[in-house]
């Protein structure tokens, strides 16, 4: 169901006073719950709940030839599917822009932060490298699938075990895992999306809030360093507002990381 204009107006009035329907602060996330190992055949998997929003993310590893421009590095492939199961707004069929954008943004958060040590995923330079496939599925959409997808991808990668590789046949032995993790950096990148509604900025919008968002900025950062960014939707942001968002990002990163680190071993 679309959010009515009346509801939208009321959300804006509330936000002008710094209030939200569910009593959260503008820069406060809903409760985050992460469960890993939810799909045994995947090398790594995670279920992430942010309030009522839910995603499933799985990691699969495969061996193939490297790309011509990165002969000694592994590959990364991130896809997202907005399942019709998760909302009456999503239809079956080839992925539409919102799903493609989630895949692209999360790809860059992981790639540009160098979270995966790609050079360690090289088996034989110029011939055989690992490809990490990260597939994201929405299970229930109550807003902010984008950030849930990012957290899910990180959690799934952290929980993943490399599959067995047969050196002689040069093939992956599917269904058999080693106890080796995927080589990851010590620090954890996070992707956080800031929404502008009227003159206010909020994080972790509910479905209704996301519907009336004027514009958004997604920031992928780690250790105070920003490594990926995307401004989405039609409206503009002033330079001053952008500065505030960047400051807010450092605070929200710390808040979220504190909330979710207990789920990472």
């Amino acid at each position: 169901m679309e959010t009515s204009r009346l509801t939208g107006e009321r959300i804006k009035q509330y936000l002008a006073e710094g209030k939200r329907f569910d009593g959260r602060e503008p820069d406060e996330f809903r409760e985050i719950v992460i469960e890993t190992g939810v799909s045994k055949n995947a090398e790594g998997s995670a279920r992430v709940l942010i309030g009522k929003t839910e995603v499933l993310v799985g990691v699969k590893m495969d061996v193939s030839a490297p790309y011509p421009d990165s002969q000694d590095k592994g590959n990364l492939m991130v896809t997202a599917e907005l399942l019709p199961l998760s909302s009456d707004r999503f239809e079956s069929g080839p992925p539409k822009f919102p799903a493609i954008e989630i895949g692209r943004i999360i790809d860059r958060v992981i790639r540009e932060s160098k979270f995966i040590e790609m050079e360690k995923l090289c088996i034989k330079e110029g011939e055989k490298v690992w490809t990490a496939f990260i597939d994201i599925y929405s299970i229930n959409d109550d807003g902010n699938l984008l950030d849930a997808a990012g957290i899910g991808a990180i959690a799934a990668l952290k929980s993943a075990k490399m599959p067995k590789y047969d050196e002689e046949t040069e093939k992956v032995v599917y269904g058999e895992f080693t106890n080796k993790s995927i080589p990851l950096s010590k620090d954890t990148p996070l992707s956080i999306t800031f929404h502008k509604i009227g003159d206010s900025f909020i994080v972790d919008p509910t479905r209704e809030e996301e519907d009336i968002s004027d514009t958004r900025v997604t920031i992928g950062s780690m250790n105070g360093l920003i490594s990926s960014m995307q401004k989405g939707d039609h409206n503009s942001i002033s330079i001053e507002e952008m500065g505030n968002v960047l400051d807010l990002n450092e605070k929200v990163y710390k808040d979220i990381f504190k909330k979710i680190k207990r789920f990472f071993k």
């Binding site: 799909s39 055949n41 995947a42 896809t79 009456d88 599925y137």
Partner: protein
């Protein structure tokens, strides 16, 4: 003689023993009805949206409502990643699922309307279509769609010469003797077949026994489904 006591299944089950089953109703808040059903490591979830107006309009049926099922395996639900999106296999299973469910649905009154059932396999270890049908039946009941009965689905296997209930992946790949025959069967609670498929080879006599085994197993599944529907917590 249906069961042979000394037959050894790879996971040590008795020949007529199913893997542990879990069923939960009401798992997707956005949906009008939803459920999870699992046979051991095979986990299916289903969501129902509707009844709602059928779009595109030319697909509307003024005589009765339409059931539209969509079976989908998550790319990482199996050992070797499958490309996301529909395949020939998933398209067929979607249709089979519709046929398995439709006979118990009272959708004559829903003219020009559609009921969408979306099934996702989260983790696969054989019998995924059966788990999907069981989850879908629960989700339809949860959505309050009038039904004359519930359907329950189970796969019967013939490993070499032995019939077994609820086939696992290891059993599906059975190679000894006559190999594996896989027979997914769906029955209504009052004993009508709404779905049967078969891959392999089997005599008519033994197939009749297989259907009897399915009848017994689906009665057990029915009880679990009924219990899950009573436990809906809002």
């Amino acid at each position: 003689m249906i069961t042979k006591k000394d037959f050894e299944r790879p996971d040590g089950r008795k020949v007529d023993e199913m893997r542990p089953i879990t069923a939960k109703v009401g798992i997707i808040p956005n949906a009008d009805g939803s459920a999870m059903f699992s046979f051991g490591d095979t986990i299916a979830i289903a969501a129902v949206y509707g009844p709602k107006k059928m779009h595109p309009q030319h697909q509307q049926d003024p005589e009765k409502g339409t059931l539209r099922c969509n079976y989908n395996m998550l790319s990482f639900s199996v050992t070797e990643r499958i490309r996301p999106g529909p395949s020939r296999r998933s398209t067929e299973i979607s249709k089979i699922t519709e046929w398995a469910l439709e006979p118990v649905l009272m959708i004559d009154k829903y003219s020009n309307m559609v009921i969408d059932v979306h099934i996702s396999i989260i983790q696969a270890n054989a019998s995924t279509r059966c788990a999907g049908i069981n989850a879908a039946a629960l989700a339809l009941a949860h959505a309050g769609i009038p039904m004359t009965d519930l359907v329950s689905s189970v796969s019967i296997g013939k490993l070499d010469k032995q019939l077994v209930v609820d086939v696992s992946k290891k059993e599906e790949d059975w190679e000894e003797g006559e190999g594996a025959t896989d027979i997914p069967i769906t029955l209504t609670h009052n004993g009508k077949l709404t779905h049967i498929q078969l891959d392999g080879k089997i005599t008519s006599k033994q197939l009749k026994e297989a259907i009897e085994l399915a009848r017994e197993a689906t009665q057990k599944i029915y009880e679990i489904q009924k219990k899950a529907l009573k436990e809906i917590g809002e």
